[in-house]
Amino acid sequence: MIGIIPSDVRANRPSVARPQNTVVIPQIVDGFSYNTQLLYLPNRYFPNALAQLDILRRAANMRARWFVIPDDIDTPLQPYDTLYYQIEMAGGSYLWGYNFNTISATDPDGDPVATTASDILLQMVDSCTGVPLFQDFVNGFGNSITGNSRAIPILLTQPRLILDPGLVNIELSNRTANTIFCQLLVMSSEPCKVITEEDRVRDWTLGLAGIGGMR
Protein backbone atom coordinates (compact mmCIF):
# COMPACT_ATOMS: atom_id res chain seq x y z
CA MET A 1 0.00 0.00 0.00
CA ILE A 2 1.42 3.33 -1.04
CA GLY A 3 0.34 6.69 0.25
CA ILE A 4 1.60 10.23 0.62
CA ILE A 5 2.45 11.48 4.06
CA PRO A 6 0.88 14.92 4.62
CA SER A 7 3.97 16.28 6.35
CA ASP A 8 6.05 15.35 3.32
CA VAL A 9 3.58 17.23 1.14
CA ARG A 10 4.13 20.33 3.24
CA ALA A 11 7.85 19.94 2.89
CA ASN A 12 7.46 19.53 -0.90
CA ARG A 13 9.12 16.21 -0.53
CA PRO A 14 6.70 13.56 -1.77
CA SER A 15 7.57 10.11 -0.61
CA VAL A 16 5.94 6.83 0.02
CA ALA A 17 4.85 5.34 3.30
CA ARG A 18 5.10 1.68 3.86
CA PRO A 19 3.26 -0.11 6.59
CA GLN A 20 6.42 -1.37 8.13
CA ASN A 21 7.61 2.24 8.48
CA THR A 22 4.47 3.48 10.17
CA VAL A 23 5.23 5.29 13.37
CA VAL A 24 3.29 3.92 16.29
CA ILE A 25 3.44 6.06 19.35
CA PRO A 26 3.34 3.92 22.46
CA GLN A 27 0.39 4.31 24.73
CA ILE A 28 0.81 6.76 27.55
CA VAL A 29 0.66 5.20 30.94
CA ASP A 30 -0.75 7.58 33.50
CA GLY A 31 -3.83 8.04 35.63
CA PHE A 32 -6.09 8.59 32.65
CA SER A 33 -5.03 5.28 31.16
CA TYR A 34 -5.95 3.46 34.32
CA ASN A 35 -9.45 4.91 34.59
CA THR A 36 -11.33 1.84 33.38
CA GLN A 37 -14.69 3.50 33.93
CA LEU A 38 -14.20 5.91 31.06
CA LEU A 39 -15.75 5.13 27.71
CA TYR A 40 -13.54 6.61 25.05
CA LEU A 41 -16.27 7.19 22.53
CA PRO A 42 -15.32 9.44 19.63
CA ASN A 43 -18.22 11.85 20.06
CA ARG A 44 -17.73 12.57 23.73
CA TYR A 45 -16.02 15.59 25.16
CA PHE A 46 -13.66 13.90 27.57
CA PRO A 47 -11.69 11.70 25.17
CA ASN A 48 -11.40 14.57 22.71
CA ALA A 49 -10.16 16.91 25.40
CA LEU A 50 -7.78 14.23 26.56
CA ALA A 51 -6.42 13.95 23.04
CA GLN A 52 -5.57 17.65 23.20
CA LEU A 53 -3.41 16.83 26.22
CA ASP A 54 -1.40 14.34 24.26
CA ILE A 55 1.66 16.49 23.64
CA LEU A 56 1.81 17.57 27.24
CA ARG A 57 1.45 14.01 28.47
CA ARG A 58 4.28 12.82 26.23
CA ALA A 59 6.70 15.64 26.99
CA ALA A 60 9.51 14.92 29.36
CA ASN A 61 10.46 16.89 32.41
CA MET A 62 7.00 18.17 33.22
CA ARG A 63 5.66 17.42 36.64
CA ALA A 64 2.20 17.70 38.09
CA ARG A 65 1.36 20.46 40.47
CA TRP A 66 -2.09 20.88 41.94
CA PHE A 67 -3.32 23.97 43.70
CA VAL A 68 -6.18 24.16 46.16
CA ILE A 69 -8.14 27.38 46.54
CA PRO A 70 -8.52 28.48 49.22
CA ASP A 71 -5.49 26.71 50.62
CA ASP A 72 -7.17 26.57 54.03
CA ILE A 73 -10.34 24.56 53.65
CA ASP A 74 -11.80 26.35 56.67
CA THR A 75 -11.75 29.69 54.91
CA PRO A 76 -15.39 30.78 54.73
CA LEU A 77 -17.00 32.49 51.79
CA GLN A 78 -19.14 35.14 53.42
CA PRO A 79 -22.69 35.70 52.22
CA TYR A 80 -22.90 37.62 48.93
CA ASP A 81 -19.14 38.05 49.00
CA THR A 82 -16.36 37.23 46.55
CA LEU A 83 -13.10 35.60 47.51
CA TYR A 84 -10.07 36.80 45.58
CA TYR A 85 -7.11 34.49 45.45
CA GLN A 86 -3.96 34.34 43.38
CA ILE A 87 -1.94 31.26 42.70
CA GLU A 88 1.65 31.39 41.57
CA MET A 89 3.03 28.68 39.36
CA ALA A 90 6.28 28.42 37.49
CA GLY A 91 6.43 30.38 34.25
CA GLY A 92 5.82 28.08 31.32
CA SER A 93 3.39 25.90 33.25
CA TYR A 94 0.30 24.48 31.65
CA LEU A 95 -3.10 24.70 33.24
CA TRP A 96 -4.99 21.67 32.06
CA GLY A 97 -7.82 20.82 34.43
CA TYR A 98 -9.77 21.72 37.49
CA ASN A 99 -12.37 20.45 39.87
CA PHE A 100 -14.69 22.21 42.29
CA ASN A 101 -16.97 21.32 45.10
CA THR A 102 -18.62 22.80 48.13
CA ILE A 103 -17.96 21.24 51.49
CA SER A 104 -20.46 22.64 53.97
CA ALA A 105 -22.44 25.75 54.81
CA THR A 106 -24.05 27.56 57.69
CA ASP A 107 -27.10 29.79 57.53
CA PRO A 108 -27.15 33.37 58.92
CA ASP A 109 -28.02 31.97 62.35
CA GLY A 110 -24.96 29.75 62.30
CA ASP A 111 -26.83 26.48 61.89
CA PRO A 112 -25.68 23.88 59.35
CA VAL A 113 -27.56 24.03 56.07
CA ALA A 114 -27.41 22.08 52.85
CA THR A 115 -25.36 23.52 50.01
CA THR A 116 -24.54 22.62 46.46
CA ALA A 117 -21.86 23.77 44.08
CA SER A 118 -24.44 25.90 42.27
CA ASP A 119 -24.25 28.36 45.16
CA ILE A 120 -20.80 29.44 44.01
CA LEU A 121 -19.68 31.16 40.82
CA LEU A 122 -16.12 30.79 39.55
CA GLN A 123 -13.72 32.76 37.44
CA MET A 124 -10.05 32.28 36.59
CA VAL A 125 -7.93 34.87 34.83
CA ASP A 126 -4.41 34.59 33.51
CA SER A 127 -2.77 37.56 35.16
CA CYS A 128 -0.10 37.85 32.48
CA THR A 129 -2.41 38.23 29.51
CA GLY A 130 -5.59 39.28 31.31
CA VAL A 131 -7.48 36.62 29.40
CA PRO A 132 -10.12 34.92 31.53
CA LEU A 133 -10.79 31.23 31.39
CA PHE A 134 -14.53 31.80 31.17
CA GLN A 135 -16.35 34.59 29.39
CA ASP A 136 -18.07 35.50 32.65
CA PHE A 137 -18.47 33.89 36.04
CA VAL A 138 -19.44 30.28 35.62
CA ASN A 139 -21.79 28.32 37.83
CA GLY A 140 -19.98 25.90 40.10
CA PHE A 141 -22.47 23.13 39.56
CA GLY A 142 -21.35 22.53 36.01
CA ASN A 143 -17.79 22.37 37.25
CA SER A 144 -18.24 19.97 40.11
CA ILE A 145 -18.01 16.24 40.09
CA THR A 146 -20.82 14.21 41.48
CA GLY A 147 -20.36 10.72 42.81
CA ASN A 148 -21.76 9.24 39.64
CA SER A 149 -19.51 11.11 37.27
CA ARG A 150 -16.66 9.26 35.63
CA ALA A 151 -15.03 12.17 33.87
CA ILE A 152 -12.69 13.36 36.58
CA PRO A 153 -11.29 16.00 36.50
CA ILE A 154 -12.74 18.59 34.15
CA LEU A 155 -10.34 19.07 31.29
CA LEU A 156 -9.86 22.27 29.37
CA THR A 157 -10.39 22.10 25.65
CA GLN A 158 -6.65 22.34 25.42
CA PRO A 159 -4.00 23.06 28.03
CA ARG A 160 -3.52 26.75 28.70
CA LEU A 161 0.04 28.05 28.75
CA ILE A 162 0.79 30.33 31.70
CA LEU A 163 3.73 32.58 30.96
CA ASP A 164 5.91 34.45 33.41
CA PRO A 165 5.25 35.54 36.08
CA GLY A 166 2.92 32.54 36.23
CA LEU A 167 0.09 34.16 38.15
CA VAL A 168 -3.53 33.09 37.91
CA ASN A 169 -6.25 35.12 39.58
CA ILE A 170 -9.11 33.13 41.04
CA GLU A 171 -12.47 34.53 42.09
CA LEU A 172 -15.06 32.54 43.98
CA SER A 173 -18.36 34.32 44.42
CA ASN A 174 -20.98 33.32 46.95
CA ARG A 175 -24.48 34.20 45.78
CA THR A 176 -26.43 33.03 48.79
CA ALA A 177 -27.14 34.26 52.31
CA ASN A 178 -25.21 31.29 53.72
CA THR A 179 -21.57 31.10 54.72
CA ILE A 180 -20.05 28.43 52.51
CA PHE A 181 -16.89 26.36 52.70
CA CYS A 182 -15.65 25.08 49.37
CA GLN A 183 -12.56 24.11 47.48
CA LEU A 184 -11.35 24.56 43.95
CA LEU A 185 -8.65 22.24 42.70
CA VAL A 186 -6.56 23.61 39.85
CA MET A 187 -4.34 21.15 38.05
CA SER A 188 -1.24 22.28 36.28
CA SER A 189 1.90 20.84 34.85
CA GLU A 190 5.10 22.74 35.44
CA PRO A 191 8.48 22.37 33.80
CA CYS A 192 11.20 20.80 35.87
CA LYS A 193 14.32 22.85 36.08
CA VAL A 194 17.30 21.52 37.91
CA ILE A 195 19.39 24.19 39.54
CA THR A 196 23.00 23.14 39.42
CA GLU A 197 25.85 24.37 41.51
CA GLU A 198 27.11 26.33 38.51
CA ASP A 199 23.76 28.10 38.22
CA ARG A 200 23.89 29.07 41.87
CA VAL A 201 27.39 30.38 41.58
CA ARG A 202 26.46 32.39 38.51
CA ASP A 203 23.35 33.84 40.15
CA TRP A 204 25.34 34.65 43.25
CA THR A 205 28.01 36.37 41.16
CA LEU A 206 25.39 38.36 39.27
CA GLY A 207 23.75 39.30 42.50
CA LEU A 208 27.02 40.56 43.91
CA ALA A 209 27.64 42.52 40.74
CA GLY A 210 24.22 44.08 41.06
CA ILE A 211 24.87 45.10 44.64
CA GLY A 212 28.23 46.51 43.62
CA GLY A 213 26.59 48.42 40.81
CA MET A 214 24.12 49.96 43.19
CA ARG A 215 26.92 51.29 45.31
Binding site: I55, A60, N61, Y80, F137, L161, R175, V194
Partner: protein, 200 residues
Protein backbone atom coordinates in the same frame (compact mmCIF):
# COMPACT_ATOMS: atom_id res chain seq x y z
CA UNK B 1 15.07 -5.83 39.37
CA UNK B 2 18.41 -4.19 39.70
CA UNK B 3 19.99 -4.64 43.09
CA UNK B 4 21.12 -1.03 42.94
CA UNK B 5 18.13 0.84 41.47
CA UNK B 6 19.31 4.26 42.52
CA UNK B 7 22.88 3.90 41.43
CA UNK B 8 22.34 2.69 37.87
CA UNK B 9 23.93 4.67 35.09
CA UNK B 10 20.99 4.30 32.72
CA UNK B 11 17.56 5.82 32.92
CA UNK B 12 14.53 5.09 30.73
CA UNK B 13 13.87 7.53 27.93
CA UNK B 14 10.61 8.37 26.20
CA UNK B 15 11.42 5.96 23.41
CA UNK B 16 11.39 2.99 25.79
CA UNK B 17 15.16 2.80 25.63
CA UNK B 18 17.66 3.24 28.33
CA UNK B 19 19.95 6.20 27.96
CA UNK B 20 22.89 7.33 30.03
CA UNK B 21 22.17 9.70 32.80
CA UNK B 22 22.92 13.27 31.91
CA UNK B 23 25.12 15.45 33.98
CA UNK B 24 22.25 16.89 35.91
CA UNK B 25 21.36 13.41 37.05
CA UNK B 26 17.65 14.13 37.30
CA UNK B 27 16.39 15.27 33.90
CA UNK B 28 15.09 13.03 31.18
CA UNK B 29 16.24 13.96 27.71
CA UNK B 30 13.69 16.23 26.03
CA UNK B 31 11.51 14.62 23.43
CA UNK B 32 9.97 15.89 20.20
CA UNK B 33 6.96 16.89 22.24
CA UNK B 34 9.06 19.19 24.37
CA UNK B 35 9.97 20.98 21.18
CA UNK B 36 6.28 21.45 20.42
CA UNK B 37 5.78 22.99 23.84
CA UNK B 38 8.83 25.21 23.41
CA UNK B 39 7.54 26.39 20.05
CA UNK B 40 4.21 27.36 21.54
CA UNK B 41 5.93 29.13 24.40
CA UNK B 42 8.09 31.08 21.95
CA UNK B 43 5.04 32.18 19.98
CA UNK B 44 3.26 33.46 23.07
CA UNK B 45 6.35 35.15 24.40
CA UNK B 46 6.71 36.92 21.07
CA UNK B 47 3.10 38.08 21.33
CA UNK B 48 3.80 39.36 24.83
CA UNK B 49 6.88 41.21 23.63
CA UNK B 50 4.77 42.88 20.97
CA UNK B 51 2.35 44.19 23.54
CA UNK B 52 0.16 41.23 24.31
CA UNK B 53 -3.10 40.08 22.85
CA UNK B 54 -4.69 43.50 23.22
CA UNK B 55 -2.26 44.93 20.70
CA UNK B 56 -3.38 42.55 17.97
CA UNK B 57 -7.06 42.41 18.83
CA UNK B 58 -9.46 44.66 16.95
CA UNK B 59 -11.25 47.35 18.88
CA UNK B 60 -10.79 50.87 20.12
CA UNK B 61 -7.61 51.74 22.00
CA UNK B 62 -7.80 54.56 24.53
CA UNK B 63 -4.94 56.71 25.72
CA UNK B 64 -6.12 56.63 29.31
CA UNK B 65 -7.91 53.78 30.99
CA UNK B 66 -11.56 54.43 30.06
CA UNK B 67 -12.72 53.50 33.54
CA UNK B 68 -10.62 56.29 35.02
CA UNK B 69 -11.29 59.05 32.50
CA UNK B 70 -14.41 59.00 30.40
CA UNK B 71 -13.36 58.89 26.74
CA UNK B 72 -14.82 61.21 24.15
CA UNK B 73 -17.01 58.47 22.82
CA UNK B 74 -18.18 57.55 26.29
CA UNK B 75 -21.84 57.89 27.27
CA UNK B 76 -22.98 58.84 30.73
CA UNK B 77 -25.75 56.99 32.46
CA UNK B 78 -27.70 57.56 35.65
CA UNK B 79 -30.33 55.14 36.79
CA UNK B 80 -32.39 56.63 39.60
CA UNK B 81 -35.40 54.89 41.00
CA UNK B 82 -37.36 54.53 44.20
CA UNK B 83 -40.05 52.22 45.46
CA UNK B 84 -42.49 52.45 48.31
CA UNK B 85 -41.60 50.42 51.35
CA UNK B 86 -42.77 46.90 50.42
CA UNK B 87 -44.93 46.20 53.45
CA UNK B 88 -45.77 45.67 56.22
CA UNK B 89 -45.94 42.75 56.40
CA UNK B 90 -42.38 42.27 55.24
CA UNK B 91 -41.41 39.10 53.43
CA UNK B 92 -37.65 39.16 53.83
CA UNK B 93 -37.08 38.64 50.12
CA UNK B 94 -35.02 40.74 47.76
CA UNK B 95 -37.04 43.42 45.98
CA UNK B 96 -35.75 44.91 42.77
CA UNK B 97 -35.48 48.69 42.81
CA UNK B 98 -33.63 49.48 39.61
CA UNK B 99 -31.86 47.56 36.89
CA UNK B 100 -30.34 47.96 33.48
CA UNK B 101 -28.40 45.96 30.97
CA UNK B 102 -25.07 47.17 29.56
CA UNK B 103 -25.47 47.81 25.83
CA UNK B 104 -23.92 45.25 23.56
CA UNK B 105 -20.52 46.35 22.32
CA UNK B 106 -20.00 48.71 25.24
CA UNK B 107 -18.13 48.26 28.49
CA UNK B 108 -18.69 50.55 31.40
CA UNK B 109 -18.12 51.46 34.99
CA UNK B 110 -20.22 52.55 37.93
CA UNK B 111 -18.58 55.49 39.62
CA UNK B 112 -21.27 56.52 42.12
CA UNK B 113 -24.01 54.82 44.04
CA UNK B 114 -26.81 56.08 46.26
CA UNK B 115 -28.96 54.02 48.58
CA UNK B 116 -31.36 55.78 50.94
CA UNK B 117 -34.49 55.28 52.96
CA UNK B 118 -36.82 58.21 53.62
CA UNK B 119 -39.21 56.66 56.15
CA UNK B 120 -39.08 56.31 59.90
CA UNK B 121 -37.68 53.69 62.25
CA UNK B 122 -34.47 52.86 60.43
CA UNK B 123 -31.24 52.67 62.38
CA UNK B 124 -28.02 52.43 60.37
CA UNK B 125 -26.70 48.91 60.36
CA UNK B 126 -29.54 47.36 62.35
CA UNK B 127 -30.29 44.88 59.57
CA UNK B 128 -33.82 46.05 58.81
CA UNK B 129 -32.74 47.05 55.31
CA UNK B 130 -30.06 45.37 53.21
CA UNK B 131 -29.03 46.63 49.81
CA UNK B 132 -27.39 44.48 47.17
CA UNK B 133 -25.88 45.25 43.77
CA UNK B 134 -25.83 42.25 41.48
CA UNK B 135 -23.96 41.75 38.21
CA UNK B 136 -25.55 38.91 36.32
CA UNK B 137 -25.72 36.21 38.98
CA UNK B 138 -22.96 37.38 41.29
CA UNK B 139 -22.89 40.19 43.79
CA UNK B 140 -20.46 43.06 43.57
CA UNK B 141 -17.63 42.73 46.04
CA UNK B 142 -18.49 44.72 49.19
CA UNK B 143 -21.84 45.82 47.77
CA UNK B 144 -23.71 42.55 48.11
CA UNK B 145 -24.70 42.88 51.74
CA UNK B 146 -24.71 46.51 52.93
CA UNK B 147 -27.16 47.59 55.61
CA UNK B 148 -26.31 51.25 55.88
CA UNK B 149 -27.30 54.14 53.66
CA UNK B 150 -24.72 55.33 51.16
CA UNK B 151 -24.56 58.85 49.74
CA UNK B 152 -27.52 61.04 48.95
CA UNK B 153 -29.13 62.41 45.83
CA UNK B 154 -27.43 65.74 46.50
CA UNK B 155 -23.96 64.26 47.01
CA UNK B 156 -23.73 60.73 45.58
CA UNK B 157 -21.03 58.50 47.02
CA UNK B 158 -18.07 58.42 44.65
CA UNK B 159 -16.22 55.16 44.27
CA UNK B 160 -12.91 56.88 43.65
CA UNK B 161 -10.37 54.88 41.68
CA UNK B 162 -12.16 51.67 42.38
CA UNK B 163 -15.03 51.73 40.00
CA UNK B 164 -17.26 48.78 39.47
CA UNK B 165 -16.32 47.56 36.01
CA UNK B 166 -19.15 46.46 33.73
CA UNK B 167 -18.87 44.27 30.67
CA UNK B 168 -20.95 44.26 27.54
CA UNK B 169 -24.32 42.61 28.00
CA UNK B 170 -24.16 42.36 31.77
CA UNK B 171 -27.36 42.79 33.74
CA UNK B 172 -27.03 45.16 36.68
CA UNK B 173 -29.65 44.92 39.41
CA UNK B 174 -30.08 46.91 42.61
CA UNK B 175 -32.06 45.06 45.27
CA UNK B 176 -33.28 45.91 48.70
CA UNK B 177 -34.20 43.39 51.32
CA UNK B 178 -36.54 44.32 54.17
CA UNK B 179 -36.12 41.94 57.09
CA UNK B 180 -39.25 40.19 58.33
CA UNK B 181 -38.68 41.65 61.78
CA UNK B 182 -38.16 45.21 60.50
CA UNK B 183 -39.75 48.03 62.42
CA UNK B 184 -40.13 50.55 59.62
CA UNK B 185 -42.90 52.95 58.84
CA UNK B 186 -43.70 54.43 55.44
CA UNK B 187 -41.28 56.30 53.21
CA UNK B 188 -39.50 55.22 50.07
CA UNK B 189 -36.36 53.29 49.25
CA UNK B 190 -34.04 54.98 46.78
CA UNK B 191 -31.38 53.25 44.70
CA UNK B 192 -29.27 55.01 42.10
CA UNK B 193 -26.32 54.13 39.93
CA UNK B 194 -24.17 56.62 38.03
CA UNK B 195 -21.36 56.05 35.60
CA UNK B 196 -20.51 55.79 31.96
CA UNK B 197 -19.86 53.25 29.27
CA UNK B 198 -17.64 53.31 26.25
CA UNK B 199 -17.48 51.46 22.95
CA UNK B 200 -15.11 48.53 22.87
Amino acid sequence: MSPRPFNCNLIPAGSRMLVPRNLQQRLYPPTEFNRCLEDEKEIWQQIQRCGGLMSICPGKKYNDPPWVKMPQQGKRFSYINSIALPGPPFTGTDTLVTSFRVPLGYDGCIVSVVQNYTGQGFQEGDGDLTWRIQLNQRYVKNYGNTNVQIGSMITPYNINSGQIILLSGQLVQYFVNVATTANLNGGRIICSLFGWWWPR
